[in-house]
């Protein structure tokens, strides 16, 4: 799975949690909070993305992520080292 595919997985899960974003053109520098996700939504998007990728990592490793591009990047890197 390449980085773009991981990004698409994240977007798919964002759209499931925030259905009103369906059709929105997501950018790497979009922040979940700015997209309308509250703290529970953000936790849900992360958990669902990890499940989709079958990636078991401590959540603390995602704590420095500041936008969805970085989230996809960290998940991609973890997938490579898994």
């Amino acid at each position: 799975m390449d980085r773009e595919e991981v990004f698409r997985v994240v977007i798919r899960n964002i759209c499931e949690v925030l259905p009103e974003l369906e059709g929105y053109a997501f950018r790497n520098d979009d922040k979940l909070k700015d997209l309308g996700a509250n703290s529970v939504d953000r936790a849900e998007i992360v958990a669902m993305s990890l499940e989709s990728l079958d990636l078991e990592i401590p959540l603390v490793e995602l704590s420095k992520v500041s936008n969805i591009g970085e989230l996809a990047e960290v998940l991609y890197e973890k997938l490579q080292s898994n």
Binding site: E16, V17, L18, P19, E20, V40, A43, E44, A47, M48, L50, E51, E56
Partner: protein, 408 residues
Amino acid sequence: MKNYNQTKLVITGIGITSAIGQGKTAFTQALMQGQSSFGIMKRQGRQKNTSFIGAEISELYIPESISKRVLRTATFTEQAAMAALYEAWEEAKLGEVDAERVGLIVGGSNFQQREIMQIYGSYADKASFIRPTYGLSFMDSDVCGLCTEQFGIKGLAYTVGGASASGQLAIIQAVQAVWSGQVDVCIAIGALMDLSYLECHALRALGAMGSDRYADEPSSACRPFDKNHNGFIYGEACGVVVIERADYAKMREVKPYAAISGYGMAMDANRNPNPSYDGEVRAVKKALEQACLTAADIDYINPHGTGSAIGDETELKALKDCGLSHAYINATKSVTGHGLSAAGAVEVIATMLQMKESRLHPTKNLEEPIDSSFNWVKGEAVAHTIKNAISLSMGFGGINTAICLQSY
């Protein structure tokens, strides 16, 4: 305990969702026609190599104001609660009431077992992926959180558990919240009890849920007070009522369905599912006393009537000895099935809708009543204008409640 609190309370809004119909119009129509919807239940997680009979909601219509985003994480019980609450809310014009003066009591506990069972099934082997929202939804009080958020309720909200008397208990708590002045309006919800196959097994093993005697003829299985009864038959439902002071309703120009003239509650000091004649008599007498009524004043009884052999027999003996065998009596559960935590609220609603229609619904499958000395409404609806009604609920653990409703 007489009704020393002279403040008259009324019910000004009703919301209902059930297997026989969603909304008052559909529900009333099905009730009056005795149109039940029993079958072998099919909802995911409710059967496992089993064929339990029950009545399930075929399709839940969700109000447009509830967003897809909210619905994604709402359990089935929560979706039913929001749908029924919306109906009652609109009818009672609660949008016009100061949000801080509105309360919400949710009747029931452990009512989301099927959903929880499914989550266990999905995540038992991958617990670290569990959806964070499960941390909210596994608690019954999430229904309070979700409903108060969606409807902007800011007074009070909590759950009360009393097994199959939960719906009536919620109404009693709502009455107390208004009487005490904590809020001006209080909503009571009888929550949808979402059984998994494990609860169905256990309830049948207890001897409470009906056997598979009628597996080939599910519509005949639910037969409260009939000689061939052999246990309750489950039915999905959620009922909502809005309670407020009569003067407040008048000021707001909302039309009451009925007045709540009294209630009674009595315990049997018994943890088990078996009923108690003594407890039921005490609950009825307390309700009548608080309503300042005698048994002779009651002209309609909405009994608990589940179809359990010992439950039906005990209830009729209690009613008879309370001097109530003259009043009309039918069994709502014969049409709706037993909603467990929802039942008490659903049956208070059924009573008020019959009051409004001046008609009493038939009792399905009542071919040979176990006691023919009562004034049964059997296979056909009967024209009758209710003046004073009493509705009973009993719950496992020795809980007995009764509510008196007066035409208004």
